[in-house]
């Protein structure tokens, strides 16, 4: 489908919100796993998401891609079951299984009908996979080849090249620097022992959270939690990852991509962590700057007034440690300098002067008025709960969300941006063809 604009930004990064949030039940298992449960009986389905502090920031040196490969290997085998058996059993029940890893989190998901005849065997299999994945050697070689081809495909995409370059330049030797998928060299270096070691260290109770949303009673949810997570060893919580360095000088990186008709531009800096005291001023301010789809300042100046780009945006990606603040766009090669100048000017103006009262009011109306849309499905509730759980946000986070947005002032935004966003010290990545 050809949509008028991209829908992806904004929704993804600030997935948490709330006034009349759902009632969250929370408890902790003996092995330390923290459980978050929301009861919802309207549809006969249940969704669970196990979260581990086992993302790509845990990849050892030289083994970038380990966390991602470990998560995608989970359903390749357990006990005497192989990948065919596991897939056949889940899908024969109509259940959906999935696993993935980003920079912070590794997630393992199950969605099933709540009919006990289907749910019970699906939960059993899910529990076996979590407790005793066998990581068959032959599967590892196949999956490794799949990752290598995915990395090659990324090399034919100027957008992917820009993204990887940006993180590398911004984060230097911090574990957020590398692509969660890894690189050609590191992926080849990963062994089955690495997978086992990663799994044993991080897929443990002290390092785990479980989200349950759907058609179950509290009593049932307790049993589900015990059954799926209770059997993991307690283990130890992962050590904190290093602090993120701050860049004090601008850094510009050009990558020639001769085949491209467009240039992809990313600029930014380190932004904020989850739970940052400036979270709300930065979040609301960013909506005005470049988070608010077609009505943001960036979109108005770059797209609506000058027709320079189909998509232009900015966002903060809050992580365990300072995640990035990113501004991005694509434009035809001949316009790259012009577009970059416009973007820089919009950012500088915003940092220097902050938003207007009128802009702030419009932003608040949008964010608070659309609050129910953030929680209008079991899937979205589960995503929000996973963020609250993993980042240890208060259980009242969703209930507090609207008042905290309402409390943001023009002065707070101006101050937060002035102190924390430095247009003259940004990393700029430019990937494109010749002019």
């Amino acid at each position: 489908m050809f949509a008028r604009t991209l829908v992806f930004l904004g929704l993804l990064f600030i997935s948490v919100a709330a006034s009349a949030g759902p009632k969250i039940h929370h408890w902790t298992l003996e092995n330390g796993a923290r459980i978050y449960f929301v009861e919802a009986h309207e549809l006969p389905m249940l969704q669970i998401r196990a979260v581990f502090d086992a993302g790509s920031s845990r990849d050892p040196a030289g083994k970038a891609g380990l966390a991602r490969l470990t998560s995608s290997m989970l359903d390749e085998g357990t006990g005497n079951l192989g990948a065919d058996d596991i897939a056949g059993q889940f899908e024969g029940l109509g259940a959906e299984f999935g696993a993935g890893a980003d920079r912070d989190m590794a997630t393992v998901d199950l969605r099933s009908l709540s009919d006990a005849a289907l749910l019970d065997p699906a939960l059993d299999l899910f529990a076996k996979i979590l407790a005793a994945p066998s990581f068959p050697a032959a599967s590892l070689e196949r999956q490794r080849e799949q990752v290598l081809v995915a990395l090659q495909k990324d090399m034919q995409s100027p957008g992917a090249v820009a993204d990887k370059t940006f993180y590398r330049e911004l984060y230097g030797d911090h574990p957020y620097a590398h692509d969660p998928l890894g690189d050609m060299t590191s992926v080849k270096a990963i062994t089955r022992e690495d997978l086992l070691a990663h799994y044993r260290s991080y897929y443990v109770g002290a390092n785990a959270w479980l989200v349950i949303v759907g058609d179950a009673s509290k009593r049932q949810a307790r049993k589900i939690a015990e059954r799926t997570m209770g059997q993991l060893p307690a283990g130890r919580a992962a050590l904190p990852i290093p602090l993120v360095r701050t860049l004090y000088a601008p850094l510009q990186k050009q990558v020639a991509f001769p085949a491209a008709t467009q240039t992809h531009i990313l600029l930014g800096q380190t932004g904020m962590r989850r739970g940052d005291p400036d979270y709300f001023p930065l979040y609301v301010g960013n909506y005005i700057l470049g988070g608010g789809g077609l009505v943001s300042r960036l979109s108005t100046e770059v797209r609506e007034k000058q027709g320079l780009s189909y998509s232009v945006y900015s966002y903060f990606l809050p992580l365990r440690k300072a995640g990035p603040m990113i501004v991005g766009l694509q434009t035809k090669n001949t316009q790259r300098d012009q577009a970059l100048n416009v973007v820089r000017k919009v950012i500088s103006d915003f940092v220097a002067k902050g938003p207007t009262e009128k802009e702030l009011n419009a932003a608040k109306k949008h964010i608070t008025g659309g609050f129910p849309l953030r929680l209008d499905s079991n899937a979205k509730i589960a995503e929000n709960l996973a963020v609250i759980a993993f980042y240890d946000l208060p259980l009242t986070y969703l209930d507090d969300f609207i008042p905290r947005v309402e409390a943001v002032t023009v002065e707070q935004i101006r101050k937060a941006f002035w102190q924390r966003v430095h247009p003259n010290q940004m990393v700029t990545v430019v990937v494109g063809g010749s002019r």
Binding site: F2, R4, A87, F90, E91
Partner: protein, 461 residues
Amino acid sequence: MLRKIRRLLIPLLGLWLAACSQTQETTLANGLRIIVKEDHRSPVVVSQIWYRVGSQDEPERSTGISHVLEHMMFKGTAQHGPNEFSRIIAENGGRENAFTSYDYTAYFQQLEKSRLPVSFELEADRMQNLTLADEEFRREIKVVMEERRWRTDDQPEAVVQEKFMTTAYQAHPYRHPVIGWMTDLESMTSKQLRDWYGRWYTPSDAILVVVGDVAPKEVIEQARKYFGPVPARAVERAREVVEPEQKSERRVRVAVPAEVPYVLMGYHVPVHTSVGHGGNVAEWEPYALSVLTGILDGGQAARFERELVREKKLAVAVDIDYSAVARSPGMLMIDATPANGHSVAELERAIRAQIERIKQEPATAEELKRVKAQVVASNVFSRDSVFYQAMQIGRLAAVGLDWRMLDGYADKLKAVTAEQVQTVARKYLVDTNLTVAVLDPLPMAKGQRRMPRPQGGGDVR
């Protein structure tokens, strides 16, 4: 809409499966159809307006005009300036967008339920009062060209998909990309857009779909208030072009700078709207084709993943795409990326062997049972999204089908037999009906670090 190949069957089947109780339809005097479905789980509502015009309605040399008009619909009316539509929706907490496909153009807003009239007022306004100013057009056409570069020109696989369609279709306008050819975008004028708007944007040919925490009676009253005064105007539709029978296999190679080879294969197949038009398409055939896609590619347990990816390790990805909801007969498409050390030709042979097998041997009871279990589950999962439920209804209505089909859809899929799957395979998945497009990577020119393609180590791994 370049059919994006989906990884799992589930979303495909899921398209169909919302339960349709609690849904009401009415038609205003000016012809606007209104379909309202209640879902009271959250205090939200989605409103979509569907115009029955898409790229297949576009004449040669005006390709992409429906999509450009979609962009221009945000550029103001006499009453609301450029971009004010988006600003008002945003201030009401709403999310909005629009999309254009081969068959239709649709606009939507997602809102807290009490804001629904805001959407109606604005949509009724731009249904009849669009400004289409020259200056706005000149800027926006540049945005669309950037969109084309981003979506297609700089994406090797998208270029293959575009070339595939021009090869598979020789007469039917599905051969043209929804976003249009760059040369047509370059020569497009605001006059053309005004004519296109005047021809297609009328309540008499549009469908309003509302799903959410609403009372149908009130929704219909509100809709009558805002859309009722829009004058009726009938749409004149050109006779539908019928794609002539293909008769021989077609092949096309696309040589562009890329790193990884890719193959896209497709067969002409019927869709639900093909039934009952004097042809010989039985009502069950599109259902059987959907089940067939489930057997081959409905998840990790399906044949493609199990045999081509895991067992033979020929492919890193193989996906099927088939949508039975379209105004004109469509394509069942298979796209695949070979594993390192294997050629596209080898992979193509293996896929063709899979197609032969499904013709020769009936699917096993276990395979059918799996596909049907997925149908039943998807039917429930799809109801978790209010937006998706509106999409299901809107797509059916926009292509001329009865949305009430949704009620029996799961049962019709469950009724498909192994023999019926074989029958549609033998009837449609034949070489003379096949088009194959291959991406032949050229070196990514100098200046780009080009890494050697790792060797996978031969056939036996």
